[in-house]
Structure formats: structure tokens, C-alpha cells
């Protein structure tokens, strides 16, 4: 983690839908190569904030920069320099692995030669070169999620957003997934991740916990556990989200 390099800068972010305040004055920074856990109960406002950071939705007020670009005026530049992986949809099931790679390479303007090279690298990181010509729908969920992650970072984005990437994935593959995250962070990619697995919260460099639209806590897992006199992050989460 490189604290001299701010990848996300958020000051006083407010997002209102009618009379409902989904994000209530959020202020935080995320650093280069950091694994940042973005936690909160269902309905706390995580998805709203994440959509704003990805340039998909405009804030009501506040100052926000992602990769140095302004979310109000440069959202197209933001979209080109980030990776995004959602839990529900990330790859085309009726296309093969190679076709999906080609499709996403096309979207991000990666040329033929470069694509061949990166596809090779990607399959090596996945440790499964033999699945290249298989349809995505024939792959087990855990493999699909690992593939989706690698596709999301194929264009070398400064930051990748992961929305509950490991839900339902078996315990072994879930850990392999996190190894890919560690590896990418070690290469300097910032990882912004939401999860309902509290053991995964402990793998993050820093964690923020949202409650009813506000950030109620932001620190390293170790400090949060100390502050709340808790054995693990689950206790910290329950303590904050229940009050």
C-alpha cells in the first residue's frame, strides 16, 4: 500500500433520492495498492456509493475524484481506468472463455497482439489453460468468479471494484480468489471490495463500515477490533450495525 498516492478522494459525498438520503456526508480516501473493504448492512448505501465512484451515477453534492478524474465532469475517463465486477453479471455465459476475453479486450480498446499476450498471462494466472474454449456456463461458479476478476483487471486499471465477488463460492476456491486479490494488490492495483463474509473483512488493509448512509467506522481491522474490544470483525460489525 502506497499512502502517498490517493486513488479515491471523497469529501462530503451526499446522495439523495427524493427525501431519502442514501449517502449522508461521506468522507474518505483510498490509497494505491490498498485492499479496501467496504462493508455495511443491506440497504446501508454501499451500492449507491459504489455506482457514484464508478461514474454511473452523479452525487447530489460533495467533491469526488477517482484516479485523478472528477466524477461530475470526467465520468467517461473514470470508466476507462477502472475495473468492475458485479456478483450477478460479469461474463457472457453463452460465450467461451476466449470469446469473453476478446469481447472485454475490444471494449477497452486492447489491440490484437496485446490481447494475445494478455490472454496468455490471464490463463496462466488462472492456472487453467485448458478451459480456453469452454463455454462460461459450463464452469463452476468459483472458476467463473476468478476468471471474471482477471478479466476485470485485464486492461490494467488503477482500481478494481468488486461487489460481493465470493458469495456462495466453496471455501477452497474462495481463498484462491483472495490470493488473486493479494497478487494484484502487490502489483499496485487498488482493490475496493464488498463482502458479507466477515473473515474476508480481516484480509483487507482497511475497512469502512456503513450504517444508515453514514460511515460509522474506518480503520485497519486490527484497530477496529481493539476499539470495539472484539475478537473478530463479525463482532465489530454486529456491534456497530445493531446500535
Amino acid at each position: 500500500m502506497d499512502t502517498s498516492r490517493k486513488i479515491i478522494e471523497v469529501q462530503n459525498l451526499v446522495k439523495k433520492f427524493g427525501h431519502f438520503t442514501a449517502n449522508d456526508n461521506l468522507t474518505f480516501d483510498v490509497f494505491g495498492g490498498e485492499i479496501f473493504g467496504f462493508l455495511g448492512a443491506n440497504g446501508a448505501g454501499k451500492t449507491t456509493a459504489m455506482r457514484i465512484l464508478c461514474g454511473l451515477s452523479k452525487p447530489t453534492s460533495g467533491t469526488l475524484q477517482v484516479n485523478g478524474f472528477d466524477v461530475y465532469t470526467q465520468s467517461e475517463k473514470i470508466k476507462k481506468t477502472i475495473g468492475y465486477m458485479s456478483q450477478k453479471f460479469s461474463l457472457y455465459e453463452d460465450l467461451t472463455v476466449a470469446e469473453n476475453i476478446r469481447f472485454y479486450a475490444g471494449i477497452y480498446g486492447i489491440g490484437y497482439r496485446e490481447r494475445r499476450k494478455r490472454q496468455q498471462e490471464l490463463l496462466e494466472r488462472l492456472k487453467m489453460p485448458e478451459i480456453k474454449n469452454q463455454l462460461v456456463k459450463s464452469l463452476p461458479l468459483g472458476w467463473r468468479q476468478k476468471l471474471a476478476f482477471l478479466v476485470a483487471v485485464m486492461h490494467n486499471p488503477g482500481i478494481v471494484f468488486l461487489d460481493e465477488p465470493t458469495g456462495g463460492v466453496d471455501p477452497v476456491t474462495r481463498r484462491q480468489f483472495w490470493e488473486l486479490i493479494y497478487e494484484s494488490a502487490a502489483r499496485g492495483v487498488t482493490v475496493f471490495v464488498t463482502t458479507h463474509y466477515m473473515d474476508e473483512a480481516e484480509y483487507c488493509d482497511r475497512v469502512s463500515i456503513m450504517v444508515d448512509g453514514k460511515i460509522e467506522a474506518l480503520d485497519t481491522p486490527r484497530k477496529l477490533m481493539e476499539q470495539h474490544n472484539a475478537q473478530n470483525m463479525e463482532e465489530v460489525f454486529l456491534h456497530l450495525a445493531r446500535n
Partner: protein, 299 residues
């Protein structure tokens, strides 16, 4: 209460269930624990008479799930994995609808759902599609209960639900158990095993083990070391490369390390120091997830 004998089921080329047998006792909370694709949903759909097994048989309360499917549907309350209530009906309308389909009324069995439904009553005119995740689960559980079933079959009721709502949901199941209902519940969250009386661990269509959660962990027998250093990822790779390591996995803030029999704490410390890690090593407890991964490896 539930008897499952040698059930196999293929979906196309995939063998979803292979020779599965289980016995679930009256008034027990029985957990079916495994990841996505393990066969949990297929087994549950067979039990509630929505799928036919290729081989084997199953019954609930002595009622055969294939031959007497009409009766099965009266005695079972089923909550499918996907939210399958009517999005365009209000909370109240959904509950009334499910009661009338089963030839009863909300008033007649209100005492069963009271605790759960009371939390929803302030929103009873809201459309079901507009509820939050935790509230949807509560409504779905109310609808599955309103005809006073003997058995509840709950397919991943806590998936995608936050840690607070998950704890609340399990508290509700504990209360329902007291009213005499048998509960068969599936989950991909291994830590939820401790909330069940007994669990079956399922992977790749096969049951790997069945017992009380505490006994499964006891019988595992392997020593687990909790280790960490300032550089988790590098430590993980260093330990993977060590010849004495039998398995090493990240578990929250620690790595769970198990080593061969001839290796002790001092050896682990010495190895970590040789790799320039400041060693933190102490004996830890294994949990269901350790056992699950071990059994997966053997499979």
C-alpha cells in the same frame, strides 16, 4: 421425520446428487452445508416434490415425496433460494394469498408467524419487491409458515443477507423449533453450522459427513496453528513452499497452518525466522471450514 434413501439425480451430463442418504429427526434443526453447485437445491426440490429423483426414495413424516406428493405439499413449508413471492403484491396481500392457497386464514395461524410478522407490520402495505433483503427473508419465512407445516425446508435463506440479519434469522429458527417444527435448512456459510443441531457437509453431489457440528470438529483431530506476520501474502507463499506444511489457508487475520507430525512449534518459528518473518505462532482451534476443506481434498 425425514428419510432420504440412496437418492441420485442427474441434470443433463451433470450428476447433481450421488447416492445421498440422510435421516433427519423430529424437531431438529438440520443444516445442509456446502457451496454453490454442491447439490443442495436439487435435494431440497426433490423433497418438496418439485423434482423427481432418478434413483432412490424419500419420505417426510412417513409420506412418500413421489407417490403422495399432494399430501407432502400440505405438511411442508418451502422457502426457495430465489425470492419467489409476488413483487407486485403488498406484504399483507402476499401473506393472505399463501394462507388462502392452503385453505386457511392468516388469523387461524397468526400465533406461529406473530414474532416474525410483527416486525413487518409497519410496512404491510408496501409492495414485496420494495423490501430490503432482510425484510424479504422475514416475509418469505412468514409465507412458508402460514399453513402450519410440520416441516420447514429452507433453501439458503441467509445468502446475500448481511451479518446482522443473518443472526436474527437464526434466532427466529431457534424459536420456531420450540413450537415443534422440524427444520431442514441449507447454507453456504460454514460458520452457520454451529446454529444447527446436526449438519451434513455436501460437495459435488455427495454427502461427506453427517454429525453434530461440535463432534465433526472434534473428530477432525488435526492440530491447527494460527500464524501471522506483517506480510500475510508473502508468508502464505513461503509456507506453501515449505516441505513440512500439509495445508495452509487464510482464516481472517491468521493463517491456519497444519504441519506433519514431526514438526513442532519451535520448527515453525525457526522456519518463519529463516524467511525473515517476525513469527507469531500459537495453537488454534479448527472449525467446520477446516474440516470441509480437508474432506474436499480427500474427495
Amino acid at each position: 421425520m425425514i428419510t432420504i434413501k440412496n437418492i441420485s439425480k442427474s441434470c443433463g451430463k451433470v450428476e447433481a446428487l450421488r447416492d445421498v442418504s440422510l435421516n433427519i429427526n423430529q424437531n431438529e434443526i438440520f443444516g445442509l452445508i456446502g457451496p454453490d453447485g454442491a447439490g443442495k437445491t436439487t435435494l431440497m426440490r426433490i423433497l418438496v416434490s418439485l423434482l423427481l429423483p432418478d434413483k432412490g426414495s424419500a419420505s417426510m413424516g412417513g409420506v412418500d415425496v413421489v407417490k403422495q406428493y399432494r399430501q407432502i405439499r400440505k405438511i411442508v413449508g418451502y422457502m426457495p433460494g430465489r425470492f419467489s413471492l409476488y413483487h407486485d403484491l403488498s406484504v399483507e396481500e402476499n401473506l393472505n394469498f399463501f394462507a388462502s392457497v392452503f385453505g386457511t386464514t392468516v388469523e387461524a395461524n397468526y400465533y406461529l408467524v406473530k414474532d416474525i410478522y410483527q416486525q413487518l407490520e409497519p410496512f404491510k402495505t408496501r409492495r414485496a419487491g420494495k423490501l430490503s433483503g432482510g425484510m424479504k427473508q422475514k416475509l418469505a419465512l412468514s409465507c412458508a409458515l402460514i399453513h402450519k407445516p410440520e416441516v420447514l425446508v429452507l433453501d439458503e435463506p441467509t445468502t446475500g443477507v448481511d451479518a446482522v440479519s443473518r443472526t436474527e434469522f437464526w434466532d427466529m429458527l431457534g424459536k420456531l423449533k420450540q413450537s415443534g417444527i422440524t427444520i431442514f435448512v441449507s447454507t453456504p456459510y460454514m460458520d452457520e453450522a454451529s446454529r444447527c443441531d446436526r449438519v451434513a457437509l455436501i460437495q459435488g453431489g455427495e454427502i461427506m459427513t453427517v454429525d453434530q457440528p461440535a463432534r465433526i470438529v472434534e473428530q477432525y483431530g488435526k492440530r491447527i496453528w494460527n500464524v501471522k506476520s506483517a506480510e500475510t501474502y508473502r508468508l502464505l507463499n513461503d509456507l506453501k513452499a515449505w516441505e513440512s506444511t500439509t495445508s495452509v489457508y487464510p482464516f481472517g487475520q491468521y493463517l491456519h497452518l497444519s504441519v506433519d507430525e514431526s514438526t513442532g512449534k519451535e520448527d515453525i518459528i525457526a522456519y518463519m525466522q529463516s524467511q525473515n518473518h517476525e513469527p507469531y505462532v500459537y495453537e488454534g482451534f479448527s472449525i467446520i471450514e477446516d474440516v470441509f476443506m480437508d474432506l474436499m481434498g480427500k474427495q
